[in-house]
């Protein structure tokens, strides 16, 4: 069966499960006794294994299987959670993520077996003292001790069967065939184990059909097995026939075999158990049943082709329902408009009413379409606690990440892009921001450093603050560095405000880190952060106090396509100014204008603000006479302000941003155009470019 069509779902769900595992294991670390967490982890690992198996990703399945074994031991209380174990588990998650990335790119899981990790997992299992009979994972490099210890010859009962295999076996039984387990032990002296095993395979295959082989046929062929291997076969004949066939190969020490009772096999029970245990929990039951349902349809595993995985948005059904309803309403409204126009003049009032109705429907429609594209930033920020934990270990600093507002929604395109800049800022805080434990103690700060990430909506913007209670930015150090690097002259440096000095940090290859670490300080950084955020029409500011910490404030537009704007008239032409950048509107008499360095400024409530006469900038004659009061729109960009002199105000309006096309690109301060209700075009002024 071709499973490639499920690849997208698989990737999505795998990501989700990995995220759950990450979060839950983190939780487990702080609260090792929490049964809920352990159960949750077990479920996620189990689903992951089932899915990987269905899709034919053997390596992924093996690794998750061993992880699941560990979790199941933790669940039964045979193993206590230890820090080393958590470390290994996290490494496993990283490995799984690597598989997932490989699959996403090439539809293949890659060739990394992660044997070291599997070994470590097994060591954890073996370390579970007092439980020698604890089920050993019989996957690939099953440890030698396990093979030796296992007094029973019925190794086939230890083979972990997956759903499709169980199904094949059950069906074979129904058809009157017999299912046997066969264990073949090769002589110690044998040199060409793989070749012998191959002959055994051939011999057995003449008499029966091999359903399962442990280790897998591929591993056996590559000699990745110890002395013995186990087969589960379906045959019409007797078990003795098969044993005889296997024994006919030379250098075989021992062949044992017996009829296989499905109910005795290893995986048969746990699955049912876990199913039952979660049946109360509706949510997880759904999560579990998905991979199982998929497993049922998977008859034979194949390596999928190379499907192109598209970017998808998972949409809440409710949001789509709203959309659907609005569209139907729109059609109704349109129809009534048509009939109203047929009846013409006599019912003019009804006509207007319908138009208003139509308008409100389209507005709502538009809003809900926008909402469909909105996703919570949760999907991005969820990976950060884990990252901070790892950083904490690798940097040897104690730190804690506090996050709020993960549910804040942003346009999907923005959410996709925002991860890297945020990660960079957090790393920055962890590495440069937070001081070492000794310094913190000297400064009377708590030994555990605080890093925070707060997200919230502010009007048409989403604000994300990333910061720490660490050292803050040493402005003098930056100033000196700037001089040293030749970015600024000493004279310039002396005249620069603190704010301007901090802005130097955003210049390419400007890193103040004294030494380059693995975490940050490679010179690619803040400039990338800044350009990325600006490419999303956002902005970054820094608030910092030496010795107390710094906060990076990222402001992003809620959506990229539609903004609230102030419509103004300049020289008879209509222009739109994004409301986000506007602070106030002022009525200024010409006498209040002062000249400073030959530039017009006004003193507005104690702040000196430069004036920009838009008619002059836009090469057009103002329609207002010189002695009239000026209408000034005060706009801000970060801490900078400017007053834009316009001729007339129209009012606030929601506008759809359209590109001017590649043809017109010379104009820096026009960021686009919008189509007004009457079909006319108004240009959008980019206040940021004007200041």
């Amino acid at each position: 069966m071709d499973v490639s069509q499920y690849l997208e779902i698989f990737l999505d769900e795998t990501k989700e499960h990995l995220q759950t595992l990450n979060t839950q294991i983190l939780e487990l670390e702080s609260d090792p006794e929490n049964m809920d967490t352990i159960n949750e982890i077990f479920r996620a690992a189990h689903s992951l294994k089932g899915m990987a198996g269905t899709m034919g990703y053997k390596r992924m399945q093996n690794l998750t299987h061993d992880m699941e074994n560990v979790f199941s031991e933790v669940r039964t209380g045979n193993i206590k959670v230890q820090p080393e174990m958590i470390d290994v588990l996290f490494k496993c998650l990283d490995a799984l993520e690597e598989y997932n990335n490989n699959i996403q790119q090439t539809a293949d899981e890659g060739t990394n077996d992660n044997e070291v990790l599997i070994k470590q997992l097994n060591d954890i299992l073996n370390g579970a003292g007092g439980a020698p009979a604890a089920p050993q994972p019989e996957v690939k490099k099953a440890s030698i001790e396990a093979a030796a210890e296992s007094s029973s010859d019925e190794k086939w009962n230890d083979i972990a069967l997956d759903h499709s295999q169980i199904r094949v076996l059950t069906e074979a039984k129904k058809m009157g065939k017999k299912v046997y387990g066969v264990n073949v032990v090769i002589q110690d002296s044998c040199i060409l184990k793989a070749a012998r095993a191959f002959l055994v395979f051939k011999a057995v295959e003449e008499k029966s059909e091999i359903i399962v082989s442990n280790p897998s046929a591929q591993d056996v062929e590559d000699e990745r097995f110890d002395r013995d291997f186990t087969l589960i076969v379906v045959s019409d004949g007797t078990v003795d026939d098969i044993i005889k066939a296997a024994e006919s190969v030379s250098e075989i020490a021992k062949v044992t075999g017996a009829e296989l009772v499905l109910e005795n096999t290893r995986n048969y029970h746990p699955i049912e158990e876990s199913d039952r245990s979660v049946s109360d929990d509706k949510k997880t039951a759904v999560a579990e049943s998905k991979p199982q349902a998929a497993a049922k349809t998977a008859e034979k595993k194949q390596t999928p082709g190379k499907p192109v995985v598209n970017r998808t948005v998972r949409v809440d059904i409710e949001k789509l329902d709203v959309l659907m309803n609005l569209v139907s309403e729109l059609i109704i409204a349109k129809n009534s408009l048509v009939s109203a126009s047929n009846q013409e003049r006599e019912k003019n009032a009804g006509f207007n009413e319908q138009i208003e109705y139509l308008e409100s429907v389209t507005t709502n429609l538009h809003e809900s379409v926008m909402k469909v594209r909105m996703v919570p930033i949760e999907s991005v920020v969820n990976k950060f606690p884990r990252m901070i934990r790892d950083l904490s270990k690798s940097l040897g600093k104690k730190m804690e990440l506090y996050m709020t507002g993960e549910e804040t929604e942003l346009d999907r395109t923005v959410v996709d892009e925002i991860g890297d800049p945020l990660m960079h800022l957090l790393r920055n805080s962890a590495d440069h921001g937070l001081e070492s434990a000794e310094v913190r103690a000297q400064r009377g700060k708590p030994p555990v450093g605080t890093i925070f990430l707060n997200a919230y909506q502010d009007g048409n913007n989403v604000v994300i603050e990333v910061g720490d209670d660490g050292n803050g930015i040493d402005i003098e150090a930056v100033r000196n560095k700037g001089i040293e690097r030749g970015v600024i002259t000493p004279e310039q440096a002396a005249n620069m405000t603190d704010k301007e000095v901090i802005d130097l940090l955003f210049l390419p290859s400007f890193s103040t880190a004294k030494k380059v670490t693995d975490v940050s300080g490679r010179g690619v950084g803040l400039d990338v952060v800044k350009s990325k955020i600006e490419s999303l029409s956002g902005e970054v500011e820094i608030k910092t106090k030496l010795g107390e910490g710094s906060t990076w404030i990222i402001r992003l537009p809620l959506t990229l396509a539609i903004i609230q704007a102030l419509m103004v008239v300049v020289g008879g032409e209509k222009y739109a100014i994004s409301l986000g950048s506007i602070q106030t509107l002022e009525d200024i008499s010409p006498s209040e204008i002062k000249l400073v360095q030959n530039k017009e400024v006004i003193n507005l409530r104690g702040t000196v603000i430069p004036l920009i006469r838009l008619p002059k900038v836009l090469d057009i004659e103002s329609t207002r006479s010189e002695d009239e009061n000026l209408i000034v729109v005060i706009v801000k960009k970060g801490d900078k302000q400017a007053g834009l002199v316009i001729d007339e105000l129209i009012g606030q309006q929601e506008i759809v941003i359209k590109s001017l096309g590649k043809y017109i690109k010379q104009c820096k301060f026009i960021s686009g155009a919008t189509i007004l209700g009457d079909g006319e075009i108004a240009l959008i002024l980019d206040a940021n470019a004007l200041i």
């Binding site: 090469d619 001017l660 096309g661 043809y663």
Partner: protein, 163 residues
């Protein structure tokens, strides 16, 4: 654009051994002269409408118009060719040209007259004078019912000034 050039050249091939190819041209008027535009590169012809000026762009770029919700830049072909400025009359039209690379662009013409079918044999190539500083906007001259129609090289028209 290379493709466009190639097509234009194809149209100019005088060798008529292969079956005679013919192309449709829209005949437009600029002042007293008639020009032909290959119909395959025309998206639309619209009546003159209010053009929104865009500041700080070359003078021949008259601004942008709203074409069914799309913002389309419009240029004055007269100004680009060094002819006297446009006078907008009732016959003035904006021809929207398709361009994959730069997006659609409109050109203002005095009048759209007709659509003619020109066979390759009816088109004479115009020698390109590289010493001539003014950009050569015409790729060939077509003969139709005794009239001469200069065929516009859309490539050089839609290119930007300094390109």
């Amino acid at each position: 654009m290379d493709q466009l050039k190639a097509l234009n050249e194809l149209g100019n091939v005088e060798d008529a051994k292969t079956s005679v190819e013919s192309f449709q041209y829209i005949v437009i008027r600029l002042g007293e002269e008639q020009f032909g535009i290959d119909i395959r590169f025309i998206d639309n012809i619209v009546k003159m409408q209010n053009i929104t000026r865009v500041p700080k762009v070359p003078a021949y770029l008259k601004g942008v118009i709203n074409l069914r919700g799309e913002v389309i830049p419009v240029m004055s072909i007269r100004m680009k060719m060094g002819l006297p400025a446009d006078e907008f009359t009732r016959t003035t039209r904006i021809i929207i040209l398709k361009s994959e690379q730069q997006g659609n662009v409109g050109i203002i013409v005095d009048e759209v007259k007709e659509v003619v079918m020109l066979e390759t044999t009816q088109i004479e190539k115009v020698a390109y004078d590289s010493k001539d500083n003014t950009v050569n906007f015409v790729t060939g001259v077509g003969k139709h019912n005794g009239d001469l129609i200069s065929l516009l090289d859309l490539n050089s028209i839609t290119l930007e000034e300094n390109a």
